[in-house]
């Protein structure tokens, strides 16, 4: 490997050839400000168009300033990162960006989390000398994502997330020059596009241009309505990240405090989506075993691999992009929707209430869940199984609104019966978790043997696409895992072309799985945060007394009292769904 020696701000530094000035500077503690630049190792995410020009530095012998994020170190380079020329240029560039950005910080959804705001502070911008016409675009409010492109600074991160990481292809830079902006085709609303609402664009947007649709007010309204029983469910990944919103270290598990806070907020029942995750394993696992057995017995009408269907972003993705394959994914609903269906039937009956009297709120790390609960097939006579879905970030907002000092809360337990869960339900929050949970149960159900070691390390990790073979007492099961829709697409193409020999594939739309969901506290491109959240999830699993879904006593009770058995008629009615071909057809004149 070749090394190059250079000096940055008079400090000598030796780096590998190919290192950028920005990285080299970072290695010796010099933080060159940057804006459009974002690089997430392991996530296949690299956005460095060199467009914002905030990171410019002076390189001796060079005519103009160099963008530190794109300029590779060369032997003997002399770099200055804070000369008058550099600072003036940087401030002027920043003023230019701000001159085309609404000064709405006080009321902006991103305020306090905004990278642009931070940068303006760091550069000491106190006045914008260059003023003029500002860009104005039509607002776009989809069920999950709000686009306020007046606030777009053309960093292109969302475009990279949407096209390169997720390969969804909704967004593109459109128009040219001052008029350029990132938008869906024909500048239509996201509603009319193939958007999966995975929210990765929101997760990486440095400004308030892309934010989630905020439903906190709907929650507050429900909570104060005396005629409503308000039930909340919290997804596994939420507890591993919520603490960050209150200044805690990433990876801090706050399950108990979260339950306490929800109770303080006034929810009548604080339940756990993990319970529904265990239920999902029962249904999906049984469906898998059924398909597997029939397949092994030579039934040609059965297709393998089975694909998981817990992730609504992923579901919408294949409905748009692979409509010819909609019979492959499991028909099991996602845990959120299973929870809603059970809450409004089984649990409502227990309470002796009509389903309309119940309001089911979900707290999700996800934006697609906001969309999922609006899907028509998930409501009965116009009453949605899940009424409102809010993100981890919105929950933090609700907690702050209610003047709750989160850090000082004493841990509390979930309510029963829908609050009990196993370690298998918890790990749904990370890539590899759903399939591991399924394997834990399927193994015992299929082989009739007791599974000693429940950790399947071969299924864990952060690589975007993984494969593993699990030994089912002599039968080798080939398992594929993909997180990030771009990786999913590759696996799916293989399945489509018959190149795949997988029996089951787990897919999660977001890099890292739900822990990296679009509704989580902003990670600002730091992959370490995701890894810490993942660790926290596995930690919670390890600490659970029961770690296999089928051993959850409340799940067993649910089947005994209500559903009968997995894949029963009632299960089918409440817990399974079907998919739609969403490929857009061009109207053709007869």
């Amino acid at each position: 490997m070749n090394l190059v020696k250079l000096t940055i701000d008079n400090k000598p530094v030796v780096v590998e050839q190919g290192t950028t000035i920005l990285e080299a500077a970072k290695s010796i503690g010099i933080k060159i400000p940057s804006l459009c630049y974002m690089k997430m190792d392991d996530m296949n995410f690299e956005n460095k168009p060199g467009g914002c020009r905030v990171c410019v530095v002076e390189v001796e012998g060079r005519r103009n300033l160099a963008p530190a994020c794109k300029t590779e170190c060369l032997e003997g380079m002399v770099v200055k990162t804070h000369t008058v020329r550099v600072i003036n240029a940087r401030r002027t560039v920043m003023e230019l960006i701000l001159s085309d950005h609404p000064a709405e910080c006080l009321t902006c959804a991103k305020s306090g989390e905004c990278e642009l705001q931070d940068l303006a502070q760091n550069l000491g911008i106190r006045e914008i000398h260059y003023t003029g016409e500002q860009s104005h675009y039509k607002g776009d409010r989809s069920p999950a994502i709000i686009r306020e492109m007046d606030k777009c600074i053309m960093c292109r991160r969302c475009e990279t997330a949407c096209n390169e990481v997720q390969t969804v292809g909704v967004l593109s830079a459109v128009n040219r020059g001052f008029e350029s902006v990132v938008a869906p085709a024909f500048e239509m609303d996201l509603d009319h596009s193939v958007c999966t609402y995975c929210g990765q664009c929101v997760a990486v947007c440095p400004t308030g241009a892309l934010t989630e649709r905020d439903y906190t007010w709907k929650v507050i309204e429900a909570l104060v309505d005396p005629n409503k029983t308000v039930v909340v469910q919290t997804a596994p990944a939420v507890r591993a990240a919520l603490g960050e919103s209150f200044g805690m270290e990433p990876g801090t598990l706050v399950t108990g405090k979260m339950v306490a806070a929800l109770r303080k907020l006034g929810f009548d029942y604080v339940f756990d989506t993990d319970f529904a995750a265990d239920l999902t394993i029962m249904e999906e696992g049984t469906e898998f075993l059924d398909r597997l057995t029939r397949h092994l017995n030579g039934d040609k009408s059965v297709k393998l691999p089975i694909l998981t269907s817990c992730c609504p972003g992923w579901v919408k993705f294949f409905e748009h992009q692979f409509p010819e394959m909609i019979d492959i994914p499991s028909t099991a609903k996602s845990p959120q929707q299973m929870f809603g269906a059970i809450a409004k039937s089984y649990f409502a009956k227990k309470l002796d209430k009509k389903r309309e009297d119940l309001v089911v709120v979900s707290v999700m790390p996800c934006l697609a869940k906001k969309y999922e609960c609006t899907r028509e097939e998930f409501s009965v006579n116009g009453d949605a199984d899940v009424n409102v879905s809010v993100t981890t970030r919105e929950l933090a907002q609700l907690i702050r609104n209610a003047n709750i000092d989160f850090a000082s809360l004493t841990d509390e337990e979930f309510d029963q019966p829908l609050g009990e869960s196993t370690g298998a339900g918890v790990i749904f929050g990370t890539t590899g978790g759903v399939i591991e949970a399924a394997v834990r149960s399927a193994y015992e159900l299929h082989t009739g043997k007791h599974l000693e070691k429940v950790e399947f390390n071969e299924l864990r990790g952060m690589e975007g696409s993984r494969k593993a073979t699990v030994d089912f007492d002599g039968m080798k099961l080939n398992i594929g895992i993909a997180h990030g829709l771009g990786n999913a697409r590759k696996l799916l193409e293989d399945v489509k072309s018959g190149k795949s020999d997988f029996h089951a594939i787990e897919i999660m739309a977001c890099p890292g799985g739900c822990i990296g969901g679009g509704g989580q506290p902003y990670h600002h491109g730091n992959v370490d945060i995701l890894k810490k959240r993942q660790r926290a999830i596995y930690e919670e699993d390890a600490g659970k007394p029961i770690r296999k879904s089928h051993e959850n006593p409340f799940i067993q009770e649910l089947y005994k009292e209500f559903l009968g058995k997995p894949l029963s008629d009632l299960s089918h009615e409440l817990l399974h769904t079907h998919y739609f071909d969403r490929k857009k057809k061009v109207e053709i004149e007869e």
Partner: protein, 157 residues
């Protein structure tokens, strides 16, 4: 956006165009050129078909269409008027000629008159600098145009 329907046979022609370039996304611009020749402009439906055939996202196609000034999503008028705004024409008064066209037709640059007769656009240098300022209407080239000539020119159509 008004919905435009395209006749079936033209859809086939469009698909054939894509195929003639092996549906290679690298040939997108060449495909769009031919598509625009076929339809006169590039309505959303055309872009959707092209995207589908060439296996790229519609957003990408739209991003490309809106980047290049040669591509238009609006139908041109029966007589497309182009004012050369190259430097040579500019210093010889093209702007005043443009203003006069705008005034007489009551349209902005890039628009078509309500009756669909004329559309107005600017272009950069047709290379007839000796004739500056230059106006083209369809294939016809008018040289050394002054604002006073505008009425007379329009009356020819």
């Amino acid at each position: 956006m008004a919905k435009v329907k395209i006749p079936d046979n033209k859809v086939q022609e469009l698909k054939d165009i894509c195929k003639s370039f092996n549906n290679d996304p690298g040939e997108l611009i060449n495909v769009l050129h031919q598509a625009q020749q076929l339809f006169g402009y590039l309505p959303a439906e055309v872009q959707e078909i092209v995207a589908d055939e060439m296996n790229v996202s519609v957003a990408h196609v739209y991003g490309v269409v809106t980047f290049y000034s040669f591509f238009s999503m609006l139908p041109k008028g029966k007589h497309p008027i182009s004012i050369c705004m190259g430097t040579a024409c500019y210093v010889r008064g093209a702007e005043k000629v443009l203003d006069e066209f705008k005034r007489r037709l009551d349209v902005k640059v890039g628009e078509t008159t309500p009756d669909g007769k004329f559309s107005l656009s600017c272009l950069r240098c047709v290379g007839a600098c000796g004739l500056a300022p230059v106006v083209t209407i369809g294939e016809r080239v008018y040289g050394r145009v002054s604002p006073d000539d505008v009425k007379k020119i329009l009356d020819e159509y």
